[in-house]
Symmetry: D2
Subunit: 285 residues, 4 copies
C-alpha cells in the first residue's frame, strides 16, 4: 500500500440512525477500503457522534475530488461536519520554548527518526540558548525576547513569523503566558505541556507546590491552550511515583521525563488527526 | 434504552472491500442503531478482519429472526463468520479454585455488585475450605478432591457437574493442571490466571523463580487454557513493582492484588464478547 | 526468629551529628540486632531527622524496660522524640463506612488473610446495609444514622463507642464529614480515602468533576483526616487510565479498584508504623 | 554543603550484631554526619548485610586518609568488605552502540544537562552513523566494524581503546554479543539494555516474539552483562501497555521509550553507587 493512497475521514454530527452505513457505503462505492475505524457517541439518543476512519483508495490524489463529492452529498443529508485528509499531508509546526530543552529535543529527535509526521517550520524562543542545537536540525530559530513591557510587541513579532505558515503551535515548556488576542490571531491550534497533573497545581511552580502538598505522584498534562490558563481540553496525562525523599529540584527532573513523553504522544496524536475537541473535553481515537 | 434491546454482533472474515458498508447497511435496514463499533484487520490486503458492534434495536427479541436473516445473506456473500447475542443473555460460569480465595472472592463480589454480567452456576474445588463463603452467595459448592491417582476420575466428576451447564470455566487459582481430554470435553472456553508475567516463569512456583531471578516487576497473566501449559492466548496482563526487599512470600501477596484485577478484567471482557481468539493471540475490543 | 522478639523504634528529632551512632550503639549494647533501618533528614543542616528501625531482641518482653531506659538516656542527650513498639502489639481499628462496601470488604478480607496486622474492633455506619456481612467476620456493627439535625448527637454516640478502644479510625468511603470537635475528641489518627487524585477535585462528586474536566487518569488518595476537608497529610495515591468512553458511573467503578488498593496500602503501612507525619507531609518508610 | 565534602560508604558483610553501631560510631568519631543511609540483610541470621551511607565530612579530601584508617579497623573486626568514594569522583564511561541512537542520545542529553554524574570518555560503534552527532558532545567516536570473522580482532581493538580508561561500559543497544574473554578482560562492569521484560524473550528479536506470543505489555531490562547472554543481574525493568493493534515495528517504537528510561535510570543508579550485586540479584538502594 502506498502511503499516498491512505486517507483519513473525520466526522462529527448529531447522532442518528444510519450514519455508519451511509458513510461506509459512500467509501465503498468510491472504491475505498476502510483500514481502521473508531467511533464514539456521547449519547446514542440525541448526543454527538464522532468518527475517524483510515481508508485506502488507490490513486487517492486523482480520485479525491470524486470522493469528496460523494461525501458532501451524504453530509448534506445527515448534517455531518466532515473532513478528509491524505496521510501524506504533513502539518506545519512551530515550537515555542524557553530555557529547558528536554521537550524541544524530544520532539526534534522523534521528528528526525520519522516518528512524528510533521514539518517543523520554526522554533521560537524568548532565549537565545538553543540556536545552535536547533539549526543542526535544519530548522530556523527565532529569538524573540519577552519582558513585561515588550510582551505585546513580542507577540506581534511572533504572529508575523507564523502568519499563514503553521497548522500547529507547540509550547514545549514555553514559560510565557500567551495572551488571548495572540491565541485568537494565531489561526492554529496550540498544544501546551503543563508540568502538573491538571487540574491540580494550575499556574506557576507546580513542582514546588506538589512538594509542599506532599503528593505521592507527580504528573504532566498536554492540553490545547485556551484563554483561561491551564484550563483547556486535555489530550494526555501521565504520572510518576515520588516520595518524601524527593525535593522540588528532583521532582522537576523526574517530571521532565513525563513531560517529554506526554507531549510527544499528544503531538503525535494531533498530527495523525486522532484528537477531536468536544466542548472542554477531547475524544482521542 | 432498554437493556433487552441491545445486541452485539461479532464478525470474523477474510478482509475485503465493502464489509463495513454491507454490515452497517444491513443493520440500518433492520432498524438497528450502532452504539459502538470496533474493528481490526491483521492486514488490509489478504488478512483477517474482525468486527464488534453494539447496536440498539427496539424490540430486539421479536425482530431478532429478521435481523439474523438479513445478516445471513450478507454473510454468505462475504464469507463472514458471525454471531449476534443480546446483551441480556448472561453466560453461565463455573469457577475452579484451590486454597487461595482472593481471585474467587473478587469474582463473586463483583458479580454481586453487578459488575460482571454472568450467572455463577458452580464453584468446584479440590479443597473443602470455601464452602461456607461460597454458599452465602447462593452458589453450589462442589468439593472434588484430586490426587495423582484419582485425577482422571475427578475430572470425570467435574465434567458431569458441568455437562451442558456452562458457557465459561474460570480457573481462579486452581492449582491442578487440567488434562487435554478434559479441555476438549468441557465444551466451553477456560480462562486461567497464571501468577507470572508470561511467557516468563511458565509452570510451577513463579514467585519463587521471580525472586531467584531478581526481577524488578512481577506480574499476572489471564489467558485461555490450552493443551500446552501456560501457552494459550493471552487476554490481559499487568505488573507491580518490587525490590530486593521482597521475599517470595511478599511477592506472592503483592502478586495476589495483580492476579485479582487481571482475572476480573479478563473475565469481564469475555462476558461482554470483547475477546476474539485469532491463532494464539487475542483481539480485545 | 519469634515475632514476639521483633521491635520497632521510631525517632524524630532535630538533625545533628551522631544520632545514628548513639542509637545503634544503644541497641547493640541492649543486645538488639537491627533488621531494617530507614532514615530521612529534611535537611542535614538544621532540618528534622526521622528514623525507623526494626530490631530483634531475644526476650523482648522481659528486656523491654532495660532497653527503654537506655534509649531514654540517649533521647535526653539528643532531644529525641522516640517510641518503641513490639511487632506483636496489634492496633485496634474501627472502620467507618456508608453505602459502598468495596473498601470495607477489602480491609476485612486482607485482615482475615493475615495481611493486615490489626484487631478490627468495630464497624460504624450511617446505614444498616452491611450488618450481616460484617458480623460474619466476627466484628460488631454499629448503625448510627446521621442527618443534618442529628449529626452532633450521632458523633457523640460514635465517640462513646470508640472511647479508649481504638488506635486508628479508618474512613472506608464514609460519606459524612466528621466535625473538628470529633477529630479532636476521638484520640486516634483517622485515615480517609478520597476518591480523587488530591489536590484535584477536593470535596463532593470527584468522579463527575473528573468527567467534566476530561482528565485522562483518575485517582484515589489516602490521607490523614484533619479539620480542613481533604487537605490532610497524604499517605498514598494511585491512578488508573481512563478515556472519553468512560462516563461518570464507569469512572466510579474503575476508581473503586484504586480506592481499595490505595486505602489497604495506607492502612497497612500505618499499622506497621511506617508513616510519620511531618507538618502536612508524610514520611513513608 | 560543598559537593566535595560528600562521601559514600558501601559495605557488604556477613550479617551480625553491632555492624551499624560500629560503622556509625566510626563515622561520628571521624567528624562525618550521615545524610542518608540504606541497609538490607538477606537474612538477619546468617545472611549477608549491605549498607550504603552518604555522609558529609568537612574537608573530606584532607581527612579521607584518617577516615579510611578508622573504617579499616572496624572492617577487620567485623570482616567487612567496604569502599568509600567521594561524590565528586566521576566514573569514566564508554558507550557501545549499533544503529539505533535512542539510548545513546538519552544518555548524552542527560549527561549534558547534569543529570548523570559521569565522564563519557568514548563512544564505540560497529557503524559509522553517529560520528557527527557524538562529536558535538565533545566525545571521541571510534568506529570498530565487526563481522563474524573479525570479531576477535574487533574486541582486541575495543579493549585497547578502553584499557585502564573506563570504570563502566554501557551497551546502549549494541547488537553484537561480547565474548566471555572480552567481559573478563575489560576490567569494568558492563550494563546492557535488553529490549524485553527478562526473563521473557531472551536472545534475538524480542519484539517480534512478543508480537507472536500476543503479550499485552512489552518491557525493557537493564542488567549487568555476564557470560550467559541476557542472564546477568537485573538492575531495572519497566513495561508499556500494547494491544493487538501494534505490529512488531510499532512495538519496537513503543519499546524504545522504555529502553531509554530504563537504561538511563540504571546507569544513574550505578554512577551513584546505589547498585550492589549479590549473586545473580541486585540490591538497589
Amino acid at each position: 500500500m502506498a502511503d499516498g493512497d491512505i486517507g483519513r475521514l473525520i466526522v462529527a454530527c448529531p447522532d442518528r440512525h444510519g450514519i455508519v452505513a451511509a458513510i461506509a457505503t459512500s467509501l465503498a462505492e468510491a472504491g475505498a477500503n476502510i483500514i481502521t475505524s473508531d467511533q464514539h457517541s456521547t449519547n446514542p439518543e440525541g448526543g454527538t457522534f464522532f468518527l475517524r476512519m483510515e481508508f485506502h483508495l488507490a490513486g487517492l490524489a486523482e480520485r479525491r475530488a470524486a470522493l469528496d463529492e460523494r461525501l458532501a452529498r451524504v453530509a448534506e443529508d445527515l448534517q455531518l461536519r466532515w473532513r478528509v485528509s491524505a496521510a501524506t499531508e504533513r502539518k506545519r509546526v512551530a515550537v515555542f520554548v524557553s530555557r529547558s530543552d528536554h521537550c524541544l529535543l524530544e520532539l526534534l529527535w522523534r521528528w528526525r527518526r520519522g516518528e512524528l509526521d510533521m514539518d517543523v517550520v520554526a522554533v521560537i524562543s524568548n532565549h537565545p540558548d538553543h540556536e545552535q542545537e536547533v539549526s543542526r536540525f535544519g530548522v530556523p530559530y527565532h529569538h524573540v525576547p519577552v519582558t513585561a513591557e515588550s510582551k505585546a510587541r513580542a507577540e506581534e513579532r511572533q504572529l508575523e513569523l507564523l502568519a499563514g505558515k503553521v497548522d500547529l503551535v507547540v509550547l514545549a515548556r514555553y514559560m510565557q503566558v500567551l495572551s488571548p488576542p495572540f491565541l485568537e490571531a494565531v489561526g492554529a491550534p496550540v498544544i501546551n505541556i503543563h508540568h502538573s497533573f491538571l487540574p491540580a497545581f494550575v499556574g506557576a511552580d507546580p513542582y514546588l507546590r506538589a512538594y509542599e502538598r506532599g503528593v505521592k505522584l507527580i504528573g504532566a498534562t498536554a492540553h490545547y491552550a485556551t484563554e483561561e490558563l491551564d484550563a483547556g481540553p486535555i489530550i494526555e496525562q501521565d504520572v510518576a511515583r515520588v516520595s518524601h525523599r524527593h525535593e522540588p529540584a528532583v521532582l522537576a527532573r523526574i517530571g521532565g521525563e513525563i513531560e517529554r513523553l506526554v507531549l510527544a504522544r499528544a503531538v503525535g496524536w494531533h498530527l495523525d488527526d486522532r484528537v477531536i475537541v468536544h466542548g472542554n473535553r477531547t475524544i482521542v481515537f
